[in-house]
């Protein structure tokens, strides 16, 4: 059972996200009116999240930096075309996702590695000798697409519909991938806990 302080921490984080989203909407509107300071603030607010998303998607700090820069440039150039400021998170993440896809396509061509399978890989249970389950390691073993989906859902608190728009997949697929990721993690934790008992 999660303790109360963790729950409080999560609620605080959620409230913080909601505030940031509202603030972003206001910054988008101000930016569209030509306010450069608002645009800078908007980019500062979001660039770290774009980087973290790209990092999870691409598993490379260098690629993530390049992709984030390209995505931010694209956001700057096209911000005026955004009709509804409320949709800024999904619209901007969609740009980052497209840049990530472009990078992966280029990367596949360069390395001649084609990985079209979208299955979640088998995750080995952590060493039974360890007393603490390192969930970070288990997450690290997940496919980048699932990791980025978890990032959008848990860290950015985006809705299933928004994630579906960003990843260009049906909402049902988002739900099933979330369910599957949770199930994989729960199974590994249960197995490890059983072994330790």
């Amino acid at each position: 059972m999660p303790n109360q302080s963790e729950n409080r921490g999560h609620s605080r984080a959620r409230r913080q996200r909601e505030k940031e989203r509202a603030f972003s909407e206001w910054l988008v509107m101000r930016s569209q009116q030509g306010n450069r300071e608002a645009q800078n603030s908007l980019l500062e607010l979001w660039q770290q999240r774009f980087y973290l998303y790209a990092l999870r998607r691409l598993n490379s700090t260098e690629a993530a930096r390049d992709v984030t820069q390209d995505a931010l440039l694209s956001v700057c150039k096209n911000l005026g075309k955004l009709k509804d400021p409320v949709t800024f998170p999904s619209w901007s993440y969609r740009i980052v996702e497209r840049r990530c896809m472009d990078w992966m396509r280029k990367s596949i061509r360069e390395r001649d590695v084609i990985d079209t399978e979208k299955e979640i890989p088998d995750i080995a249970a952590p060493d039974s000798q360890t007393t603490e389950i390192n969930i970070g390691q288990i997450l690290g073993a997940l496919e980048p697409e699932i990791r980025s989906l978890l990032h959008l859902y848990y860290m950015d608190e985006l809705s299933v519909a928004e994630i579906a728009t960003i990843l260009d997949i049906p909402g049902g697929t988002v739900k099933s991938r979330l369910y599957y990721a949770r199930k994989v993690l729960a199974d590994v934790i249960d197995t490890t806990s059983g072994e330790q008992k």
Binding site: E6, R36, N40, T61, K77, S107, L139
Partner: protein, 120 residues
């Protein structure tokens, strides 16, 4: 599932904190080398590494032949080969450094482009 949700959230948070700490660091030597092994011009880096290795091996062989020979004319010939190998390795290293700094400069240009775009 809420327990799992919290664990996922905590793990992602830890990952984020580590990544953010790394984000502001300047590109180190190994990072710069890593950068030169990716991208459109990666073939050039690989080509230079392979050429450098082959030249180095040939240089060692020429050195061993230089010490094995008693004939001065032959020794001079091997010395010339060693000299050529050394010069080639130096040129390769210089080109390699240029390639690495070029990639870092391109990255900085992109950053500047973004800053200018947001300021004009």
């Amino acid at each position: 599932m809420s327990d799992i949700d919290d664990k996922i959230r905590q793990a992602l948070n830890k990952e984020d904190e580590a990544a953010i700490a790394e984000l502001n660091e300047q590109a180190g030597l190994f990072e710069m080398i890593g950068m030169s092994l990716h991208g459109k011009q990666a073939w050039m880096t690989y080509y230079m590494w392979i050429l450098g290795f082959v030249t180095f091996i040939f240089g060692l062989y020429a050195l061993s032949r230089f010490f094995a020979s008693d004939d001065t004319a032959v020794q001079l010939a091997w010395m010339l080969a060693i000299n050529t190998c050394l010069a080639t390795i130096v040129v390769i290293k210089v080109l390699g450094w240029m390639q690495m700094t070029k990639l870092e400069t391109m990255r900085e240009i992109k950053r500047l482009e973004m800053r200018l775009l947001s300021q004009d």
